[in-house]
């Protein structure tokens, strides 16, 4: 019954997003595409940080890896669908290879290592000739499959929304499975998980690669959507933005990653639109962008440890319990228990029942 409710919500959100993609105008769709791609990466980050307990400040590199894979394959004459197929595969393979040494690291060491990975990747793509160097990769053809070429922004909105939906389904199914429970055990105590027979190192690597493949898929769609890639499209700030969104939404939950990326992305875009209004200095959008990300990140880390979703659901439950009348009270208290529990991701054991 629990699963049914969740599936219904998911179906509702998905159909609402598809309807939005069908109705919005082109300028809104441009925001929509980028939002869907960002949310795709954020889901991966959220899984990685919330479940494998690993901070990554380098997922922009995997996004870039996916984008360049798709871009290079397409400009070399491969079918574009093959490029999009290989984008997540190459990103995951890259993560799998660098993850073997990097995931030995913990905490701030891993944060630094992933940041370093992003910087090394940037200097690599600005040096290599196959990636077009500093000038960038130009003339990437439009995405086409089965004789249909996607040219309009709307078609890319559908494509990115489809990609996001695929990622949501994969992430949810993995979280609800046996490996998902093992991951949650791992995130609270690696030693305890290992002693219960969870192959800790292997699972950490697998989540790292999986989250990289999400980023790679989003990057691949980005390449076809933009038609042009340059090292400047993937600044270090990009990697940080994903962490901000995941932290704001609440780590480890697909709904958290989705709501975090939607709220942060729309807030930032709304403000940057205000900042480009008449009379504002040219640097205003950048200043606002940085300030908003900074304030959101600090607030989320210090005051919303469970993220927006947990905060909203506990307080919603509390409000309902307070204002619930008569027969409703019983239901409301149950709601507090049920909805309040995601606030404490450490409590692995009691949640088993609801997932099986």
């Amino acid at each position: 019954m629990h699963v049914n409710a969740r599936s219904l919500t998911l179906a509702g959100v998905a159909s609402a997003s598809f309807i939005a993609a069908a109705l919005l105008d082109d300028s809104a769709l441009a925001v929509y595409v980028l939002l869907a791609l960002t949310a795709s990466v954020t889901i991966g980050i959220s899984l990685l940080m919330g479940h494998a307990g690993q901070v990554s400040l380098g997922h922009g590199a995997f996004y870039a890896a996916g984008a360049y894979t798709a871009g290079i394959l397409a400009t070399q004459g491969c079918p574009t669908w093959l490029g999009l197929l290989f984008a997540p595969i190459v990103a995951a393979a890259l993560a799998g290879i660098v993850g073997i040494p990097l995931l030995l690291l913990r905490g701030h060491h891993l944060a630094f290592a992933t940041l370093a990975l992003h910087l090394i990747f940037l200097s690599l793509i600005s040096e290599l000739s196959i990636t077009g160097g500093d000038v960038g990769l130009q003339g990437i053809p439009r995405f086409s499959v089965a004789g249909v070429t996607l040219t309009s922004v709307r078609s890319y909105a559908f494509l990115s929304c489809g990609g996001l939906f695929l990622i949501v389904v994969v992430a949810r199914n993995i979280l609800d499975s046996r490996p998902g429970r093992a991951l949650r055990a791992l995130s609270s105590s690696e030693v305890a998980a290992a002693s219960s027979g969870v192959p800790v190192g292997y699972y950490k690597l697998a989540v790292f690669a999986l989250s990289a493949s999400f980023a790679g898929l989003a990057g691949g769609i980005y390449a076809f959507y933009m038609g042009y890639l340059a090292p400047g499209s993937f600044p270090v700030m990009l990697s940080i933005e994903y962490v901000v969104m995941a932290a704001v939404g609440g780590l480890g939950k697909v709904s958290g990653a989705l709501s975090g990326s939607v709220v942060v992305f729309l807030l930032v875009h709304g403000l940057s639109r205000v900042a480009t209004l008449n009379g504002m200095p040219g640097t205003a959008p950048v200043i606002l962008l940085y300030a908003v990300y900074a304030v959101l990140l600090i607030t989320a880390v210090l005051f919303l440890p469970g993220g927006l979703v947990a905060f909203a659901s506990t307080n919603w439950g509390r409000l309902r319990a307070r204002f619930g009348v008569g027969t409703n009270t019983q239901v409301s208290v149950a709601a507090v228990d049920e909805r309040g529990s995601p606030a404490a991701p450490e409590s692995v054991a009691p949640k088993h029942g609801s997932f099986s």
């Binding site: 040494p101 030995l104 905490g107 701030h108 290592a113 700030m237 990140l297």
Partner: protein, 286 residues
């Protein structure tokens, strides 16, 4: 040969700058267990402040000292955000310092714009063993040595220094002795800010800085700190100089754009080796 020597001297001077940033990182880390991702920002703020003050007509030494004080104040503010809320986990503080660093971007662009800035340091040059060495390089080395000497005296010879060391080795025991661990942490942040500021005012004349220079400054500082094992600030001098020389050699004999990648790969290698050794010893960290 003279090319080699000039790369070497350039490397030592740049490495001194890295060491200053590294020492700030180490002091903050030792006292609070927080890796301060905003460390590069302190240097950038000091560099910008000095540029503005000099532009306003203030004399040299006063401008630089004021800039260093400003960086110390920024360091203190960073500390308030990162550890001011009691019970904040070091990992959360790390992300909070990242937030402060990003906020620094906003303030810097607002105050100084997004274009690189610089000011002229000492002009003139020496001839040392047939190599042209500019006076600014000599200044950097001398100031760095003085700062590290002062740090050593401070940690070994003063009550505040001892208290900082006590907080670093065992915060709980230090608190039992009546040492305010939180206050010491904030003091550590202010000191770290000042050290970053020294690096900023010394390095800005060599190469114009912009608001996003902080990433490379942080990366190099952290790399030096790792080479020094994140323990004593004085070791960071060795780490920073080693890194500076290595980068200078790569830039000189190979390609300048490879130098930061080299520093990063080197650091990653060291981190991974340390981690494997730690695993082999079965000593679980923290």
């Amino acid at each position: 040969m003279s090319a080699f020597l000039s790369y070497l001297i350039h490397g030592v001077c740049v490495g001194c700058g890295f060491a200053l940033i590294a020492s700030g990182l180490i002091i903050i880390y030792r006292v609070t267990r927080v890796v301060n991702l905003a460390q590069g920002m302190f240097a950038v703020v000091a560099g910008f402040t000095a540029t503005s003050l000099l532009g306003a007509g203030l004399p040299h030494v006063i401008s630089e000292l004021t800039a260093i004080l400003a960086a110390a104040a920024v360091g203190l503010l960073t500390g308030c955000v990162a550890i001011g809320k009691r019970g904040t986990h070091p990992q959360a503080s790390l992300i909070a310092t990242l937030g402060v660093g990003v906020f620094g971007y906003a303030v810097e662009i607002l105050t100084w714009g997004d274009q690189p800035r610089s000011f002229s340091g000492l002009t003139g040059a020496f001839e040392v063993v047939g190599v042209h060495v500019s006076t600014q390089y000599v200044l950097i080395t001398v100031v760095t040595l003085l700062v590290f000497g002062a740090l050593e005296l401070f940690f070994e010879g003063t009550y505040a220094g001892k208290a900082l060391t006590a907080c670093a080795s065992n915060p709980y025991a230090a608190a039992l002795q009546g040492i305010g661990v939180m206050r010491m942490g904030l003091f550590g942040f202010a000191l770290g800010g000042a050290l970053g500021g020294v690096a900023g005012v010394l390095l800005t004349p060599l190469q114009p800085i912009s608001y996003d220079s902080d990433v490379l400054l942080f990366v190099n500082g952290f790399a030096s700190a790792i080479l020094a094992g994140l323990t004593r600030p004085v070791f960071a001098l060795a780490g920073g100089v080693a890194l500076g020389v290595a980068e200078s050699m790569v830039a000189g004999y190979s390609k300048a754009s490879y130098q930061s990648s080299l520093a990063l790969i080197l650091t990653l290698g060291i981190l991974v080796v340390q981690a494997t050794r730690r695993q082999a010893l079965h000593t679980v960290e923290e």
